[in-house]
């Protein structure tokens, strides 16, 4: 075996020597045959001819032998590569243009994939990501039997109970360690209103997230979680230590207060600790839960509260672990009949998060984004196709000669494909840099927290490779076919150029390019439009003159009565401040992530079946509508009395969309519905605000406002509409509130400021899309220009003759434009159709996208320019020189 390989390798290496050797052997053979035939009585020429026949051709014999001798495929590929490299070197300008275009396409595609992959596809830990797992539970109890707390028809992901966590930890053999945690937002410091993100964790948490030594102090020990309430300790993050404690080393060992519970700081985690999920600032043993949060001891009531992650034993796969956990959870389910749970053990990537799983939203978003960048890549490839096509024309004679000398068409085809694949090599190498650089740059630019696991892994590598190969093949396939479809005799005699027969390929390319860039632009346009609406919409434009101040009176443990009177005092005094025109309370910010939604049904409906309608809910005081300027369309808003006490039927002010959803075109005033279990009666209709549209989608039915009950809803925002200087007002509001309740030290911000982060992120995203769209359009126009210009070159002779026999410039111009315009219009039509189809999908993912207006005039305009420019050039042809050209 070894020997055979060796001799093959030697054959490949010593190809030349071997072949010279063989030539001699073959010559001897021929001579012997000739002698034989001569002795049989043939003349010399006859004998030679017969000898060649008997042998089956000398060249063929050489080929046959060579194939047997070496690795024919590898050898011929090497030969193709050498040849291709030589050809490409000969035309450096062409090669670099093509390479640049492909690099743009492939690099961007791979870079974005790398970003997407680090953002949503990889385990969220930096150290040892392969063994990380997250166990997720889903309630799949059939609705008829269960008293499931979830609305039917949706994926019912849930957290784990203490019982489940302990069972998994103690019984599963596939895990090295299992941790669980629950996220809370406690108030830091006595009397402050600053919430931080904290996690109640099991005491092996840091082991699972691979933090061995803290920056300072120590971490939890197993004893800390032994008994409930026994360890009032906390580990804080370096960021918090810097921001709030001025990096004071004596913090370790001192006592801080979270939700007014004194906790001793025992350690500080370093900045790069990857256990944190987006700025978790403190970790507390989960056995401190009943001290830190209301609602009793979650660990005793079979409550779903723990998120479970951990590490697999070496060599164990996620699916093996999943099977094991499934058995354990099934046993527990049996004790809690009729509960049925589905178990999933995955690498903890964001794509498995419930938000992304709902209605396959994650998959759709990922494929949309990757689809868009792949479109750009294909547009770039099409440009390269055009370039290759024009070169195919220039090379037609070379190909004709090679074909007539007996080269196989298949072999030549392969040769041409090798060339285009070789063109994709540099783009591939370049993309390997891009995949490292682009995600980091994007995170920096968007000022987002970097995910823990940013370095490209093998999937990114494979993707780049795939993209490059696809690009090379896509760009080169059609030209290669075209090159070989030539009229041999015509080309050799010099009377025809390649593909001068009717080519359906080029117009098709133009159409495809325009269709692709149209889809791209429509996408980008859609985003821009959304952004525009976002920034000019009435509620947000006004948002700069509305101050929203959180009043977390609940955290200060006030009784409902004191809280109500405090709030009344603050409201009254705030209204008297200069420049203030309206003051109200609201349980939620008008725009932001802290939105509340709940199911909405009609009283006569049976609730169990079908997809529930989900409506937005905000509890507001009567003047809210004035403060935020939500226009009343019909009926009335709340009366002050209605906020004093609960009534059996709650009056509601609802958005127009909700009214339409519930009752169609009937008059909604006085009609009743059930919102989150409360029977409501429609008092008034207001215009939809952005927050309602923000969440608009399949299941969202719009928004509703209920009266803000001053006795109940305790944490609320104070909303203040003002004119004039925001800073001055902020100062007076702050001192006013401080006088009413010294422990409150709020930082008054406008609604716009509150939602800025939200809008900022989106702005960045939209800008990216717009840039991509513009890039695609530019590329497409270059392509269209190339195609039309090429067709002009091909028809130079014809045009020259036309001009010579008296065609006017205008005629030539029209001729070229007309032939160029057909495919342009076809492409635009196809693009429009695709855009419409895609637009149909968008609402299903409930992304914040509004209105659809593809900016077609832009595409058409750009395409026209690309057609007209070469047409003008054609009309100025000098007939004499053009006729001389061939």
């Amino acid at each position: 075996m070894m020997r055979r390989w060796w001799s093959r390798i030697r054959a490949v290496l010593n190809r030349r020597a071997g072949e010279i050797d063989f030539d001699e052997e073959l010559a001897a053979h021929v001579e012997m045959l000739v002698e034989q035939y001569r002795s049989e009585g043939m003349t010399e020429p006859e004998a030679r001819r017969a000898a060649r026949l008997a042998l089956g051709g000398e060249a063929q014999t050489r080929e046959v032998r060579r194939e047997a001798a070496g690795w024919p495929l590898i050898e011929s590929i090497a030969q193709d590569l050498r040849y291709a490299a030589r050809t490409l070197r000969r035309d450096l300008l062409f090669t670099s243009m093509v390479t640049l275009t492909l690099t743009l396409g492939v690099g961007m595609n791979s870079g974005v994939f790398s970003f997407v992959s680090s953002e949503v596809m990889r385990a969220p830990v930096q150290r040892d990501p392969a063994t990380f797992f997250r166990a997720r539970l889903e309630d799949i109890t059939p609705p008829s039997e269960g008293r499931s707390p979830f609305p039917p028809g949706r994926r019912r992901f849930r957290l784990a109970t203490n019982e489940e966590y302990l069972a998994i930890r103690d019984q599963a053999r596939n895990f090295e360690s299992v941790t669980a945690f629950f996220e809370i937002r406690p108030v830091l410091g006595a009397g402050s209103t600053t919430e931080i993100r904290a996690q109640l964790t099991t005491c092996n948490y840091f082991h699972v997230y691979r933090l061995r030594t803290p920056l300072r102090g120590s971490l939890f020990s197993a004893d800390d979680c032994a008994r409930s309430g026994s360890a009032p300790i906390v580990v804080i993050a370096e960021q918090l230590w810097k921001d709030r404690f001025a990096s004071d080393p004596s913090v370790v060992g001192s006592v801080i207060r979270l939700n007014d519970v004194p906790l001793t700081v025992i350690g500080i985690t370093p900045m790069d600790f990857d256990g944190r999920d987006n700025r978790v600032a403190a970790w507390i043993p989960y056995t401190m839960q009943s001290q830190l949060i209301e609602g009793g001891d979650l660990s005793r009531q079979g409550r779903f509260w723990l998120e479970t992650t951990g590490r697999l034993r070496p060599g164990v796969t996620h699916s093996q672990a999943e099977a094991e956990v499934r058995t354990i959870v099934r046993q527990i389910d049996q004790m809690h009949a009729p509960r049925v749970s589905r178990v999933e053990v995955n690498n903890g990537a964001r794509m498995y998060a419930p938000f992304f799983r709902e209605g396959n939203r994650g998959l759709i978003v990922i494929s949309l984004v990757l689809g868009l960048v792949t479109l750009i890549m294909l547009i770039a490839c099409t440009n390269v196709t055009v370039l290759l096509l024009s070169r195919a024309a220039a090379r037609s004679r070379e190909m004709a000669v090679r074909l007539s000398l007996g080269a196989g068409r298949l072999r030549l085809f392969r040769q041409l494909l090798t060339e285009s694949l070789l063109l994709a090599v540099i783009p591939f190498v370049a993309s390997l840099f891009v995949v490292r650089w682009l995600p980091r740059a994007m995170y920096r630019w968007m000022a987002l927290d970097q995910p823990r696991n940013l370095d490209p892994d093998w999937t990114v590598f494979a993707y780049s490779m795939g993209a490059a190969v696809l690009a090379g093949l896509f760009a080169g396939f059609a030209p290669a076919l075209e090159t070989l479809r030539l009229d041999l005799s015509g080309v050799l005699k010099g009377t025809t150029m390649t593909g001068s027969g009717k080519s359906r390929l080029r117009p098709l390319l133009v159409s495809a390019q325009l269709a692709m860039s149209m889809v791209l632009l429509a996408g980008a346009g859609l985003m821009m439009h959304t952004l525009y609406r976002l920034q000019t919409s009435s509620s947000l434009a006004g948002a700069r003159s509305v101050m929203a101040i959180p009043l977390p009176l609940q955290s200060l443990k006030h009784s409902a009565d004191t809280a109500a009177s405090l709030r009344g005092r603050i409201e009254e005094q705030a209204a008297r401040l200069p420049g203030v025109s309206a003051v109200s309370f609201s349980s939620n910010l008008p725009l932001g992530s802290a939105s509340r939604s709940t199911s909405v049904t009609l009283p006569e409906e049976t609730p169990a079946r079908g997809t529930p309608r989900i409506a937005y809910l905000n509890e507001v005081s009567p003047r809210y509508f004035d403060t935020v300027r939500v226009r009343l369309l019909r009926g009335r808003v709340f009366a002050a009395a209605e906020t004093q006490r609960r009534t059996e039927v709650t009056p509601a002010v609802i958005g127009r969309t909700l009214a339409l959803t519930l009752w169609g075109l009937q008059d909604p005033i006085g009609k009743r519905f059930i919102l989150g279990g409360r029977l409501c009666e429609t008092a008034g209709i207001v215009e939809d605000t952005l927050e309602m549209q923000w969440n608009q989608g399949m299941a969202s039915a719009g928004g509703a406002y209920l009266p803000y009950h001053s006795q109940e809803g305790i944490n609320a925002y104070l909303m203040v509409r003002f004119e004039g200087d925001a800073k001055a007002l902020a100062v007076s509001l702050r001192s006013l509130i401080g006088q009413a309740e010294p422990r409150l030290q709020p930082r008054p911000m406008t609604i716009a400021e509150h939602s800025q982060e939200h809008v900022d992120r989106f702005t960045v995203f939209v800008t990216c899309m717009a840039v991509l769209g513009a890039l695609g359009l530019v590329l497409a126009c270059i392509g269209v220009y190339g195609v039309v210009a090429f067709s002009v070159v091909r028809r130079t002779k014809e045009i020259g003759i036309r001009i010579a026999i008296g065609a006017r410039r205008a005629d030539v111009f029209t001729l070229v434009v007309r032939s160029g315009l057909g495919p342009v219009l076809g492409g635009l039509a196809a693009g429009l159709a695709i855009t419409m189809a895609v637009a149909k999908v968008l609402p299903y993912i409930r992304l914040p996208l509004m209105g659809l207006s593809p900016h077609d005039p832009l595409t058409l305009g750009a395409a026209l320019v690309a057609v007209i420019a070469p047409a003008r050039r054609a009309s100025r042809l000098n007939p004499v020189s053009s006729l001389r050209e061939e």
Binding site: R3, E25, A28, G56, V64
Partner: protein, 116 residues
């Protein structure tokens, strides 16, 4: 004429070459080709060139050796000799063939009644 000639399989040709070298000893490409034609009574359709692919394969497997020598009329030619491994291989293959051809003969000699 055309029908009476047999197209031969690659492996079969290798075997013929080996057998030829076993019977007549050291021989050059032309000699081997001519011998096969003679033995087959010209029923084998042979592009003499394909002999060389076969020779290369056999060499790679170490079943034959090649060296330059002089032909009958003093022409320089490459002569091939079967090796020990080659003989062993030939023996094994020949037995295989024997069995296979017997089976094939039986298969083709079967009539409908035999099966019933």
């Amino acid at each position: 004429m055309a029908q009476s000639r047999i197209e031969i399989l690659q492996g079969t040709l290798d075997l013929m070459v080996l057998q030829t070298l076993q019977t007549i000893g050291s021989q050059h490409g032309y000699g081997i080709a001519r011998r096969i034609e003679q033995v087959s009574g010209k029923t084998v359709l042979l592009n003499q060139g394909t002999i060389y692919a076969s020779l290369v394969r056999l060499q790679q497997r170490g079943w034959i050796l090649a060296e330059w020598g002089a032909s009958d009329n003093n022409r320089r030619a490459k002569f091939y000799t079967i090796t020990k491994a080659g003989r062993k291989q030939l023996a094994a293959e020949a037995e295989n063939w024997q069995k296979l051809s017997e089976v094939m003969a039986r298969m083709f000699s079967q009539t409908g009644e035999d099966i019933a």
